[in-house]
Amino acid sequence: MLSFVVRRGFTSLVILLLAVSLLFGMIHMVPGDPASVILGPKASPEIKAELNQRMGLDKPILVQLGSFYKNLARGDLGVDPFSDRKVSDIVFEQLPYTLALVLAAIGGATLLGIPLGCFSAIRRGSLLDRFTALMSVGFIAIPSFVIALYLLLWLAVKWRWFPAMGAGEPGDYVDQARHLVLPAIALGLGWVGYIARLVRASMLEVMEENHIRTARAFGLPERTIIVHYALRIAILPTVTILGLGIGSMLSGALFAEIVFSRPGIGKLLHEAVITRNYPVVMGSVLVTTAFFVLSTLLSDILNATLDPRQRDRRNH
C-alpha cells in the first residue's frame, strides 16, 4: 500500500511541476515583453523597468525559472501589484469559500446519488428508477451556470426562499449554510443524476456476480449483502469519477461564485483577469490546479483502499 502511495504521489508531483512550468512559460509565449503583458501596453517605460527589476523579468529564462521554483518552494507566489499584498495571502484567504462550496456540492451529490442509484438497481423499472434515469441525463448536460442563473431567478429573486448574494455573516453558520444552498445545488445537481446512474449500473453488474450468489447461499441477510458486499464494490467507479470531476467542479464553482456574488477563488480569478492582475491570476490558477492534482491523488488512494486489487496493478 505504501509503495502504491509513493508511486502515485511521485507521478502527481511530476505532473504538477510540469503544469506549473507551463503556466510560467505561458507568459513568455505571448508576443511582446512580459512587462507589457502584465502591465498593459499603456504602462510607461519607467514602471515597466521597475517591474522588470522587481520580478527579474530581464534575466535569462532559466534563471527566472529557477527563482520561480525557489520562490514556489518557499510558498511565495509573488506580490499583487495593486494592493501590495502577498498573492499567497490573497489566494488562501479566498480558498476556504470555494472549498466549502465544492465540498457541499459533492457531499450533497453523493448523499443523494448513491442511495438513489442503489434503490434504482434494486427496484428496477420502478417509477423511481425511471425518474432517476431521466434526471441523470438531463441535468448533467446542462451547463451548471445556466442552472445557477435559473435558480437565482426563481428561488432567490422571485420567491425569496434563499439569499441571492454573498456567503453569509462570518461566524453565523446557519446563515452561511443558507447562502451555500443555491450555489451548491447548481454545482451538484448534475452530479446527483450521474452518480445515481453510475451506482445503478455498477450495482446491477455486481449483483449478478458469483460471489453475491455465494453470500446468499450462506444465508447472509439481504441488507448485509447489498450494503457491505455489493455496494462496496459498486461505489468504486464513483470515487474515481468524483476525483476527476473536481476539476469541472472547480470550473463550475467559478461561475457559481460570480452568479451568486460569493467570495472565492473563482471570483478572485475573474476580477484579476479583468484588471489584468497577472500575479494574482497565476497564483489562483496554480493553487486550484494543485488542489485538483491533490484530489485526484486522494481519490486514487481512496480507490486503492476500497479495492485491494488496484494496489497490485502496475500499469493502467
Partner: protein, 332 residues
C-alpha cells in the same frame, strides 16, 4: 433410524421463456441418506444446476416449481417461507461452488468473509477468528493466521477452493452441496481436494451431494451415483454397481466415452451421437430415444419410469422382457 437428509419426490421445474415453458426438471426423485456421499453425474444441460438452485431456493426469476416435494430431514423445503429457507442456508445446508475465481468477494479479506459466514450464533469476533483458523488448518492451508488477512486474488485456485470448503463446513451442516468443485482445477489439485473432502466427511459426518461430470472423481468419492439426462434421472444406485454394470444406454455410452477407459490407441475419441433434445417441445416417450441404439417400440410412446431395487433404471429396453412386451414386436 434417522430420516434421510434429503428426500426429493417427483420434482418438476419449468423456466418461462419466450418460446414457452422450458421443462428443465421432470419428475426427479432422489435420496441422500444420512452420512453418505451421493454423486450426480450428467453432461451440461442435464438439469444439475436447476436441481441445486431449487434445493437452496435461489432460482432465477422466471423459474416455476411445478410439482414435487423436497424433504430435508423430514420437512418440506418447498413449503417453507423465505426467511425459513434463509435460516437453513449456510447453517444446515451449505454449498461449494464451481468457480473459485469468482465465488469469493474480491474486495474483502478472507478472514472477514469467513467471519461473516458465522453470522448466526453468539460467538465473539475472537471466537470466530479461532474457528476460522481451525477450519483452514483442517482443509490443509498452511499458515492460516496470515491467510485470513489476505484477499482472494492473492491465493491460487486450489487454495481458494479449500477456503470455500472450509467456509461451507464451518457451521457443521447436515448437507453439503458441492457443484463441480474441482472442475476448474487441474488434475493433481483435484485429487488432493477430493481426498481432503473424503476425510472431512468422515470427521464431520455430514451428507454430501456431489455434482460432477468427471466420472473418475465420482467413482472415487461417492457411495451412490445418480445419472441425469436432459432433466430426468435415468439411472441410480451404488457407484460400483452402476459403473461396473450400467443398465441405461446413456450411462453405458457415458462410460464408454470416458477417456480414462480407452484401452487401445485410436484416432477418434468416442462420442455420443446426436444432441440434447428441445426441452420446450418435449418428444413423446423416452427422452433419450433419438440418441439410443437399443430403443424398442414402447420407447416412442411411453415415458419410462425408474424401477428396480437398490440399482434403479428408467428404461424400456432393459426391463422389456419378452414376457412383458408384445411378442410380435422386435427391438429396432
Amino acid at each position: 433410524m434417522n430420516p434421510p437428509v434429503l428426500d426429493i419426490h417427483n420434482l418438476s421445474v419449468d423456466y418461462q421463456t419466450e418460446l414457452g415453458p422450458l421443462h428443465a426438471l421432470r419428475d426427479v426423485s432422489l435420496l441422500v441418506p444420512e452420512g453418505k456421499i451421493i454423486g450426480i453425474v450428467g453432461e451440461s444441460g442435464c438439469g444439475k444446476s436447476t436441481l441445486i438452485s431449487t434445493i437452496i431456493r435461489l432460482l432465477a426469476a422466471n423459474a416455476r416449481i411445478v410439482d414435487g416435494k423436497i424433504l430435508f430431514k423430514g420437512d418440506d423445503l418447498l413449503g417453507m417461507g423465505v426467511d425459513q429457507m434463509r435460516a437453513l442456508r449456510g447453517d444446515e445446508i451449505s454449498m461449494v461452488f464451481q468457480d473459485p475465481m469468482t465465488s469469493l468477494n474480491p474486495v474483502l479479506p478472507i478472514g472477514r468473509q469467513m467471519s461473516d459466514v458465522q453470522h448466526r450464533g453468539k460467538a465473539s469476533a475472537a471466537e470466530r477468528k479461532t474457528r476460522s483458523v481451525m477450519m483452514l488448518e483442517r482443509v490443509g492451508i498452511p499458515d492460516p493466521e496470515t491467510q485470513l488477512t489476505r484477499y482472494p486474488h492473492h491465493l491460487s485456485g486450489g487454495m481458494r477452493q479449500r477456503v470455500a470448503i472450509a467456509m461451507a463446513l464451518m457451521t457443521e451442516p447436515s448437507l453439503l452441496i458441492a457443484d463441480e468443485p474441482t472442475t476448474a482445477l487441474d488434475a493433481t489439485l483435484e485429487v488432493q481436494i477430493i481426498h481432503r473432502l473424503e476425510q472431512l466427511q468422515r470427521d464431520f459426518g455430514c451428507s454430501i451431494l456431489f455434482i460432477s461430470h468427471h466420472l473418475g472423481v465420482i467413482a472415487e468419492l461417492c457411495h451412490e451415483v445418480v445419472v441425469m439426462y436432459a432433466g430426468e434421472v435415468v439411472e441410480c444406485g451404488p457407484t460400483r454397481e452402476v459403473f461396473l454394470n450400467p443398465r441405461h444406454p446413456y450411462t453405458r455410452k457415458l462410460l464408454e466415452c470416458d477417456p480414462a477407459r480407452i484401452a487401445a490407441r485410436t484416432k477418434d475419441l468416442p462420442v455420443i451421437e446426436g444432441g440434447l433434445p428441445d426441452l420446450v417441445k418435449l418428444p413423446e416417450g423416452c427422452i433419450f430415444r433419438d440418441r439410443c441404439d437399443q430403443s424398442v417400440a414402447r420407447c416412442a410412446t411411453e415415458r419410462p419410469r425408474l424401477s428396480g431395487a437398490g440399482h434403479t433404471v428408467a428404461c424400456h429396453a432393459v426391463v422389456c422382457h419378452p414376457v412383458v412386451c408384445n411378442l410380435a414386436e422386435h427391438p429396432e
